[in-house]
Amino acid sequence: MLDRADDPAASPQAHADTQPRPVTFRGAGFVPGAGRYSGWIALVLAIGFWQLAGSAALVNPLFLPAPSAIAVAIYKLALSGALWHHLSVSVMRIGTGWILGTVAGVIVGFPIGLSSLARGVGITFISALFPIPKIALLPLLILWLGIGEEPKIATIALGVFFSTAISVYSGVDNVPRNLIRMAQSFNVPFHSIVRRVIWPGALPSVLAGFRITASVALLLVVSAEMIGAEYGIGAFVLQAGNLMQTDQLLAGVVILSLFGLAVGRLINLLETRLLHWR
């Protein structure tokens, strides 16, 4: 019997218990999603407060110049051509070092993922050498390669190499074995399995590695330029600091940040294009 109790003898309490009431919703939260504009609004607000504090002379511009002063510094640097000169030198070092390190990392990482012998030897060396901060090798590399561009590029290439090799062989390890067995069951030749199954299967991990190596390369180029370079964003930032030109120092930092963002965007584009099947 599903009829409501309308027995006049029923108590008010019993009557209240028989009234339908909505089920309490308990499923809210724990689904974080990036808002479309919230990040930009927060950034604009932070810069606005910073500008206000600077304009109201609440902070000493020698220690923290206002955003407008940094923008002016960037504008002047761009106008004078110094910005492009420093930037182009850094980009050349990062680009060359990153490409060399990545190519070597892929060439070494793939066999480690595919062959027991290469794995045994390769992982031992990588485990031993990966933890060394690569910037510590710069003096040795200067000794070996001279004081030109080569040691800086080699430092970046070394930093990129280890992370790339690790992400490549981890990616190969993560390719589902059932896909490889499937290919073998159709007598697909080894080189085709590598090209059409293992490489695309490892690509998500390889691209994730690119994201890491891009920031490693940026970190190393700045460090290397601070230690031994006349030109480059790192050298420029160090010189500005030595001269207490904090607006120019922060201009250099902003440019590094924009450079990092641009590289991140590029990797996003690559992911969208190459991993569209995900």
Binding site: N178, Q184, F186, V188, P189, G201, W277
Partner: protein
Amino acid sequence: MDLIADHISHRFGALEVLEDVSFTVRSGEVVAIVGPSGCGKSTLLSILGGLLQPSAGAAELRGAPPPGSFNPLTFVFQDFALLPWFTVEQNVKFALLHTDLAISERRAVVDDALRRTSLSDFRGTYPKQLSGGMRQRVGIARALAVRPAILLMDEPLSALDSQTRELLMEDFIGLLADGSMGAVYVTHNLEEAVRLADRIVVLSRRPGRIREVVTIPLTRGERGDITARAKLLALQSELWSLIREQAIDAEREVQHA
């Protein structure tokens, strides 16, 4: 072409999985392999298909493959094993990579396989855009493209819902009806086994040994009517009584592992 399991035994380390399994799948015959969980059904199929070396014994082929066959022993996998970065058409074409077919011939073979599995309208679709049943159809199309003598099917319907299972079972019955292709069908579903197979190999719990080989007393063509269904149902419960106790033991073993 016949496929022979010749005294196959297999162990993974100290774990003995299969013990002295012998039977023959004759040309055009469908043999189902059933048994409790962990009895080595899938291991046996991998050995039969050349994906695993047995510890003892051998898998052998007797007779010539059918003319035009590119891969006499062809798997249909439980988890479909589709390459997610390839479209339906590319996945089917992938199976023909090692063949020396001309591009136009390859296209014709792929078209035929897609048509036979009703996938012609989905050739440009990626696996992630397909339902489980459609994905398995791609797996079947890929297998058909290489014109196998024997299909090796490892629980091909177990990842699918019951309605899709029924539809694909009808497809399997249709594909195997003319006897031009044999199959080894690994399943834990006895209904599927009695509907599809000519003979059923019942394995014991681990290490899997042959307990019984049951011959279905009806041809595949005769299994549609009600009387036949009653017979099949009786056979199914007979099989279940053979397996039941060992299935319970196997389940307890898994729980205590």
